[in-house]
Symmetry: none
């Protein structure tokens, strides 16, 4: 919850020993410290105008529509008022009675072979979906080197190839074209060009020193 | 992993006691039973042509671009070849050396106040994002070289750098990481690797002949 900026944790009839241990644990977060305990689901969601339950959706046929998390959660974003996400116990999930307090049910699109999730992981996935960017910005690649830099790299690499004996006099022209295409195909970024130039310079220096 | 249809779990140098306990636990899933253990990250990702690391992105300034999970993960969907998602230990995350094996880094959009996630929850969120509905049809890129080829290129380039006097003994480790990152960042295609290998081999031949 803390990872995704949520702080209002409410527990219904928790297993006391485990809960007290968790709260007093070193590093127990402020979320746990300020958690409130209720006797019933009704009390826990009494001030919430939208309650969304979560279900693996396998063992029972709920009377309510079960929506996939991705689409169902949009109701939270557009809702004017307090929203509760309701999770069942790790072992049994939400009961039919619990679900009757829900305005809708969400299902994380898990594999049919292993539908039921660990509780903490289910919570993380639901809250992640909430904060997830709706419009995914396309990844911006690092600016590629301009043509002059690409040509400088090409020239220097060709000099290395020539001095190393890689270039055959007969195929020199086609090698040059191949190298030129290759340098461009790599899409060397502006931040990468100096590294490659430095390497090539060093190799040439070594050749000159030894040759 | 089983919830989201993933089965190929690979562990690098796991804490043996905990791992053996987990595998032998009643209800230990087939994912754990068939998990493979490796001594190094290099071996674990040797057959993967795309390695994406995960980071809370707070404690270090990585040399690599860190993309938000939503956009960064699209590379997995469009990649032609085996992909590894690399997670660090719960306590320390990925080291700079671990990250140098990555073609890219992903960050789950957690709150700046509590950026670091529980490992199991981070895995669940990343895999959920992968199976989440969304048609992101992006043009298929040319198949990238697998991990072993990228590492072969890295090793050979490091040998060239060493023999040319480029590598300084004091900064050798950071140079190695820099070069490893750089080779992966270039995303050298399968058709480009032989050319680069040939060039490096020729330079080494020339060094040996002259030295």
């Amino acid at each position: 919850m803390a990872n995704f900026g949520c702080s209002d944790l409410r527990l219904v009839d928790p297993y006391d020993v485990a809960f007290r241990e968790a709260v007093s644990a070193v590093g127990g977060s402020h979320v746990l410290q300020s958690a409130r305990v209720y006797a019933t689901v009704a009390e826990a969601v009494s001030d919430c105008s939208l309650v969304l339950g979560t279900t693996a959706g396998q063992h029972r046929v709920p009377q309510q529509t079960v929506e996939r998390l991705e689409s169902g959660i949009t109701a939270v974003r557009t809702h004017a008022g307090r929203v509760a996400l309701l999770f069942g116990s790790e072992k049994f999930g939400l009961s039919n009675d619990d679900m009757s307090f829900c305005h809708g049910l969400l299902r994380i699109p898990t594999s049919p072979e292993t539908p039921s999730m660990n509780l903490g992981q289910a919570v993380a996935v639901c809250l992640y979906e909430l904060v997830r960017t709706e419009s995914v910005p396309v990844a911006r690649a690092a600016p590629a080197v301009p043509g002059t830099d690409a040509e400088q790299l090409t020239r220097m690499l060709l000099e290395v190839l020539d001095k190393s004996g890689y270039t055959n006099r007969i195929t020199a022209v086609s090698t040059e074209q191949k190298i030129r295409r290759w340098i461009r195909r790599l899409r060397i970024g502006s931040q990468d060009a100096p590294l490659l130039l430095g390497i090539l310079r060093q190799i040439l220096w070594k050749f000159d020193k030894q040759g």
